[in-house]
Amino acid sequence: MKRFLCGVLFALATVPLLAGGIHGRVACAGQSDNGGAVVYVAKVPGKTFPPPKDHATMDQSNRVFLPHVLPVLVGTTVDFTNADPYLHNVFSPEACADKFNLGTYPKGEKRSHTFRKECFAPVLCIVHPEMEAFLAVLPTPYFGVTKPDGSYDVRDVPDGSYTVKVWHPKLKGSEKSVAVHGATEADFQIAR
């Protein structure tokens, strides 16, 4: 009986490890580090994904957008907060992001925008021209962003064959077919 219970507990404990997903590394040639690349499943045949109820958040702190790259599912509303003790503005010149402009607002205030189309949109602050971030508005909820060492983790991907794409703010993207069976590894190389 003890052996049986231990076996059940072990099986339960290892479920997250064995859950489907794609992980690996992206090498970004010529960049100071390998961070900021978005890895995502381009399409899941026969399946659509309703927009999440929860909002995503992009903050402005010390004149930096955080995070620098934010992937979201199509239809997601993003809250842009301001943690700095001075005015910030948030806008995007990208048509697929409706060329939104949230105006200029002080610390503690947040303004939101809903991204309804697939898009890779720069997010800018007209008050501080050096500030820049990117919204990756994606067709599936299966995505991840690389860390500076290039590693990424796309979780909860059902088993199956998919086209997996990589997007980077400064480099040409890449894609490959990946057959997912549990935890599956896929590495990419991208360059200018």
Partner: protein, 466 residues
């Protein structure tokens, strides 16, 4: 009076003392580009300031690494606007950046000159000067975003009489790969060393003495020019010019430049302001066979691991033309009668060659100059006569890297002056350079007027850059 064995020993002693003192200085500081890329001076220089082939490509590329990537720049610049603003121009200011540290560099030169010359009475005059410091150069150079760059040099020089001169030797803005294929169309505007001399300017800077026969010949004279220019004389070619210049590299190996600049006299070799309403024109084209491409391209060539070596030949032609209308020079005839003279059309045509064979680099220039000289009445400025005079100047220099810290250099200069009654100027310059550290060097240099054995200098030089 010749330099005695005692004098020589004394000089060697003081040089040795100097070397010991300065060798004790920490050599951790390096100039602006070394800081930006966190790389050694040796990346671009054989023995500074002489550029190796990579350094030449770096210079022609607007002081950027060939095929530069973000990871090569170790000192990240300060952003003056996000990349996305490019698409919004002219609705927004086009993005750029600037160096994160103030990009200054300092070059200091100490010199002991033992000089001998013969005065008008035939007596030998000897000086032995510690010129500590003889010259200090403050450089500022860097890039402003992906297209623009800048280069400035402020020089403070101590005169032998104890006074000093300060001059802005360079102050220019560069526009790199302005449009079209990369490297093909670049612009420079400001006070600059024209790319007319590209490829041999940095090489002659290797020696302490400049090539005066090429740059300071004074073509003004009653029967044409007789020698090198004093203050305010006309010059053969401007070492620096106030210029707008276009240059570029095509197909990795073809170099061209065209420029327009202020007239070359009477401000001396460093150019002048508004001598008249005219503008001079210059152009150059040349081709490099073998070795690294002028844009840093290494496709199809096998280069040795030692970055100062290669087997290549670079040959080119250059030309310069201008009009000295309304620029009056004072002259006298053999009887002392005063006149004015204008150089109404000066033309210079030259060929340049540089041959690398491993550790050896032989290079030289031959230049033919003509000057249409108008003799004018000293008071009324009425034209009295007009004649065209010509002169020829050439030099050849051989630099040899004995070992990376040691280089020897020999140069011969020959100037046939325009006045046929004056003998040609011939000079020999021999240099031995020791790179004590990557940014500290010592030189021993002998310069001799081959027409008169009493005219020579022996210089010991110490330079350091940080």
């Amino acid at each position: 009076m010749r330099m005695t064995t005692h004098d020589l020993r004394r000089n060697v002693f003081w040089v040795a003392v100097g070397l010991i003192l300065f060798n004790a200085l920490p050599a951790t500081a390096v100039p602006a580009f070394s800081r930006k890329y966190q790389t050694s001076c040796q990346t671009c220089h054989v023995i500074f300031p002489k550029l190796n082939p990579f350094g030449e490509a770096f210079r022609l590329n607007g002081y950027r690494m060939p095929a530069e990537t973000a990871e090569q720049v170790k000192q990240q610049p300060v952003s003056l606007g996000a990349e996305a603003y490019k698409r919004m121009w002219p609705g927004m200011v086009y993005p750029s950046d600037l160096p994160s540290n103030v990009p200054f560099a300092l070059n200091t030169k100490m010199e002991n000159i033992y000089s001998s010359s013969q005065d008008d009475t035939g007596h030998q005059v000897v000086h032995n000067d510690f010129q500590f410091p003889q010259e200090v150069n403050l450089f500022s150079a860097g890039t402003l975003g992906q297209t623009f760059g800048f280069f400035g040099e402020l020089t403070w020089e101590e005169r032998p009489d104890g006074g000093s001169d300060t001059e802005i030797e360079h102050a220019r803005l560069d526009v790199t790969s302005a449009f079209g294929p990369e490297h093909l169309v670049n612009f420079r505007i400001g006070k600059l060393a024209p790319n007319l001399y590209d490829g041999f300017q940095e090489m002659w800077l290797m020696t302490d003495n400049g090539i005066d026969t090429l740059f300071t010949f004074n073509p003004i004279g009653f029967r044409g020019g007789t020698g090198l220019a004093e203050e305010g004389g006309g010059v053969s070619l401007p070492a620096r010019a106030r210029s707008i210049e276009m240059y570029g590299v095509a197909a990795h190996r073809l170099f061209y430049t065209v420029g327009v600049d202020s007239p070359i006299g009477p401000g001396g070799p460093n150019g002048t302001f508004g001598a008249n309403s005219q503008k001079d024109l210059y152009a150059r084209i040349d081709y490099k066979i073998g070795g690294m491409g002028l844009d840093g391209d290494t496709g199809g060539v096998k280069l040795p691991p030692e970055n100062w070596r290669e087997k290549s030949l670079r040959i080119g032609i250059l030309g310069y033309t201008g009009n000295g209308k309304d620029v009056n020079f004072d002259i006298t005839d053999d009887d002392g009668n005063a006149f004015k003279m204008q150089d109404r059309r000066y033309n210079r045509y030259g060929v340049f060659g540089s041959w690398y064979f491993g550790d050896l680099n032989v290079f030289g220039v031959a230049l033919h100059g003509t000057d249409r000289l108008q003799l004018l009445d000293d008071q009324t400025l009425v034209q009295i006569s007009e004649t065209t005079r010509s002169y020829d100047v050439w030099f050849a220099q051989a630099d040899y890297v004995i070992r990376p810290p040691f280089q020897a250099s020999v140069r011969y200069e020959n100037l046939r002056v325009a006045d046929a009654t004056v003998p040609s100027i011939r000079a020999l310059n021999a240099n031995f350079s020791l790179l004590i550290r990557a940014n500290i060097k010592a030189m021993l240099e002998y310069h001799r007027d081959l027409r008169n054995s009493q005219n020579y200098t022996l210089a010991t030089v110490l330079r350091f850059a940080l």
